[in-house]
């Protein structure tokens, strides 16, 4: 399977709808400090089911919703949609016949969450199971967040073992 695109609206600093279209090979994201690059990484983690606010660099899950700037009011909804292609044959269960899969996650400021696969409402668990089937569930080495390398280096031998077990 491969990533086709990531759409964000209201996720952290992405107050306006933005689409990252992926290609095979290496896609690089550049820009000044604080402009939102790591927020894109957070969006991918989040849409794939991340529940640890710490991993998302937030105090509470509500913090991932655009919380306003000097010129804009906070938004009430954060949405991210990750579209992956070429999944046929890799996925068990009800989504196994699709060629392309759009994974959506929404969080309302009221605290309500919605999860959808190809616009069909589902549970968070369904999204996480999907990723395990496609081999993208090995979170340990699939997404290396900023500072993760330092963490591995400064870890105690036991913490390091946990990190290694996660990856392999």
């Amino acid at each position: 399977m491969y990533l086709k695109k990531l759409e964000m609206l209201g996720f952290k600093s992405f107050a306006e709808s933005m689409v990252v279209t992926f290609q095979p090979g290496i896609t690089a994201i550049v820009g000044p400090n604080g402009c939102g690059k790591s927020n894109i990484v957070d969006a991918i983690l989040w849409v794939l089911g991340e529940q640890s606010t710490k991993s998302l660099r937030s105090d509470r899950m509500e913090d991932v919703i655009f919380n306003g700037s000097e010129t804009r009011r906070p938004l009430n909804l954060s949405e991210a949609i990750l579209t992956v292609g070429d999944v046929s044959g890799e996925i068990a269960g009800q989504f196994g016949d699709f060629e392309e899969i759009a994974i959506s996650r929404r969080l309302f400021r009221t605290g309500e969450s919605e999860y959808l696969i190809n616009k069909i409402p589902c549970r968070l668990k369904d999204i996480r199971d999907l990723l395990i089937d496609t081999g993208a569930g090995h979170k340990g080495h699939t997404i290396i967040e900023q500072g993760k390398v330092d963490q591995l280096l400064n870890a105690s031998p036991l913490e390091r073992r946990e990190l290694i077990e996660e990856t392999a």
């Binding site: 933005m18 290496i26 010129t71 804009r72 080495h141 392999a168």
Partner: protein, 165 residues
């Protein structure tokens, strides 16, 4: 189970030794179980010896050597169980030019298996990308994505410019 852990651990050790030697063009490295009799719970130590130097715990290496060794371990894990895509956020930050060149060489090989999204401030890494996006915050606090390309601006520096629309 103990067998499962040991077989993955052994594969990881072997791959780590290879990738380390490729990154450092020599030298050696290994993973060490601190308590061999308690494989399922023992802590893990990383030892490394860049070429011409002494074998020591990873914490005693230089800033860049430590980072490159840790990246070797993460890439080894990836090569054993490749995921369809991989996201790397500024992992090239502590590396010098030569180490970035070697890192990019291994990265390019790994794209046979998988798609990579790499966040970077480094010009060499940008030059190696197949597709380049810039993120800006012209309006304070609001991120915007643009397509960008690299241009030499004549005074010894390469600059990132918005691509023509």
């Amino acid at each position: 189970t103990k067998e499962m852990f040991l077989s993955t651990y052994t594969a990881l050790r072997e791959k780590f030794k290879q990738v380390f030697r490729e990154f450092f063009e020599g030298g050696q490295a290994d993973l060490v179980l601190l308590d061999e009799n308690n494989a399922l719970e023992s802590g893990i130590e990383i030892v490394a010896q860049p070429p011409g130097k002494r074998l020591k715990s990873i914490t005693l290496l230089s800033g860049g050597e430590k980072a490159l060794t840790a990246i070797a371990l993460l890439f080894s894990s990836f090569l054993i169980h490749p995921s369809p895509f991989c996201v790397l956020d500024e992992i090239d930050a502590p590396l010098d030019e030569e180490n970035i060149r070697r890192f990019l060489k291994v990265l390019r090989r790994m794209t046979d298996h998988s798609q990579f999204l790499i966040i970077t401030h480094n010009k060499r890494t940008m030059e190696h990308a197949d597709l380049l996006y810039g993120v800006t915050m012209e309006e304070a606090g609001v991120s915007k994505l643009v397509s960008v390309k690299l241009e030499s601006n004549g005074n010894g520096h390469t600059a990132v410019k918005p691509a023509a629309i």
